[in-house]
Point group: C2
Chain length 418, copies 2
Amino acid sequence: MEPGKKLTIGLFGFGVVGKGLYDVLHNTATLQSTIKKICIKNTDKKRSIGQEHFTSEASELLNDEDINVIVELIDDAAAAFEIVKTALQKGKAVVSANKKMIAEHFEELLALQKKYQTPFLYEASCCASMPLIRNLEEYYDNDLLQSFRGIINGSTNFILTKIFQEQLEFNAALLMAQQMGFAESNPKLDIGGFDAANKLSILLAHSFGVIAGIEKFIFNGIENISLQDAEVAKEKKFSIKLVANAQKLKNGKLAAFVLPQFVTTNDDLYHVQNEFNAITTESSFADKHFFKGKGAGAFPTASAVLSDISALRYNYKYEYKKIYDQTETALTNNFYLKVFISVDDLAKIKKEDFEWIEEWHNGLQYSWMIAIIHAEKLVTGNWWKEKGVSLIVYPDGIEEGIDYKKISKRSLELAGVV
Amino acid sequence: MEPGKKLTIGLFGFGVVGKGLYDVLHNTATLQSTIKKICIKNTDKKRSIGQEHFTSEASELLNDEDINVIVELIDDAAAAFEIVKTALQKGKAVVSANKKMIAEHFEELLALQKKYQTPFLYEASCCASMPLIRNLEEYYDNDLLQSFRGIINGSTNFILTKIFQEQLEFNAALLMAQQMGFAESNPKLDIGGFDAANKLSILLAHSFGVIAGIEKFIFNGIENISLQDAEVAKEKKFSIKLVANAQKLKNGKLAAFVLPQFVTTNDDLYHVQNEFNAITTESSFADKHFFKGKGAGAFPTASAVLSDISALRYNYKYEYKKIYDQTETALTNNFYLKVFISVDDLAKIKKEDFEWIEEWHNGLQYSWMIAIIHAEKLVTGNWWKEKGVSLIVYPDGIEEGIDYKKISKRSLELAGVV
């Protein structure tokens, strides 16, 4: 119960998050932390604080023995990794918000932490202000976690909300998200699902001890979600959300993916609007938890960085208990998904990929079906990601109970698709 | 990153929570923890496990040097305190779920932890399965927390849900809560607001560093909430919830109370039904967070106890940062509340206590008004807790902006009440 230690920080990047962080740290005496030097690309740019705070030389921060914490808030994932790596090697604690860098280098970063015994915290990398990693790491740590589902990208949720509430077309909604500062500098990262996939990759490690890059699971974004899809969803009293899923199957293996999903009004995720993020967890004893917060924006991101800095004062580090202590959980694509699929041209559907068709609606420019597909088919084929095709998971879309392989393809014949 | 240490547990109490805990601990090898002995009142009672596990002698557990963790799950707060005190003195870590005991002895327990440097964890004491204390303690620890509001008693929320959804009278709903196992053994603790007040007392310490027993703030339960109150609420598109509030006022002081409150449909708390609990926090950078989970029941409570046991394996203890490190926040009753008040008899209202009356409806057996009252008036008077009187805080009921003292009592005259 001693007061926390004093931190001397070297900061990389001085965008909106970095600036906000600077202000708060220097206006909150109890945090006992100061930013000694800030490394930026362009030292000529006019800044809100004196020139003497800045340098363009990374080594000036990394070699400064006074500096015991590096806070990395730059955009470039490759450069960020080099900074983090060097800092950890030099025994400096590191705080980062760079999900892409962390997801891509998870194993190396784990090895570095183990070797140099230096803390590396990155709460801001997943859903900004919400303490997700910390809770998954510390609280749901007893083999009892069954699943989590969540809206973990603020920008796409903002866009989907606008499509739904204001009947905006996709591109108009995207522009609005960019103007509000909710989108990554490269919007493809958000709308293509890459950002959510990077976060899922990180969350899988802290929730189930699974180390898996984004190439290891199915993911997609929301680029092909149309106003017509939203209309169908509304008729069925659903909303459409981009949902990250991780669910333990009955065989103990883990199904994980990021896909657009229909959510019902009694699903907590239904009420999560605009840039808000949310996650539901289900565990054997604790039952369902639901957690909602701001998942994008400069201030919410800075708040998570701040919280990591504060935790370092008390020598907190991730124990990675589930990776080191618990029995390994394996990812699998051996499960079925119930999906809604819409197309502008019937020829785009690879009919032979389906196990079962429940509903089928033909239109001149817009046709849709509700059907069962094996997840492996989504891995091997890419037709469902093409322009003009929407694939949206149905509520409770993971199907384990029925072995559709054993059912004849009679339903497909009846529907006239094979 | 070493595997957690092995724990040998002495358990006090073997009710539903204790039994569930026993099963999980002995079926989850990775937890590395065993219950060595269980202390119960009545050793003659038939149990689901062998007689050799039990004793009625507390000292048999407390003097056993093998036992390094005491888990206290008994009902009697006074006896529980003696057990916890002795265990901490003997250097044993303690896990407890006893909110009454903790709220009543907070300062002594703090001193014991400081003196003997032994961890004392009690996540299960506030909202069962939800990691509230841990999050308030670890995450919102940077002077930036503005407020929290929450439904922190599952039993009363269950009762209110039944009154609302099934038009049950209060007593029928209470009986149902008892049958479902959601009520404390003494229902007065729940419905009189004592349980929620004990939890608020604990949460105030971990959120704002305020040590305050329940006699230090205003609280009430839901005993007087009638079907007619529910009807008025429905007409106004409100629901009624028993809400614990803690809000920093503009002068830096803290307003805290537990009272029934009208909540609007766009309030996250509106959608919290049955035995679920939920809390919203608001902080300067992170903005609004909302967290919902099961706040009552044997399994959700056992899950929190389990999580504390798991945390002890990694030597976790509360740092009480806000008590020791941060500037003190003082409680105040110097604020106004906008309230709905209903009575079966107009004579029960102490009219001169009000500053302002906005609405007034007279009926033969049921009258109600919406009015402004200074919080201090609720401390000094008790008329508003009497049978036949409901006092329900209005949405956004804390009024800081207007100094009603300076406004003439003209409004009261107009309403014909003074």
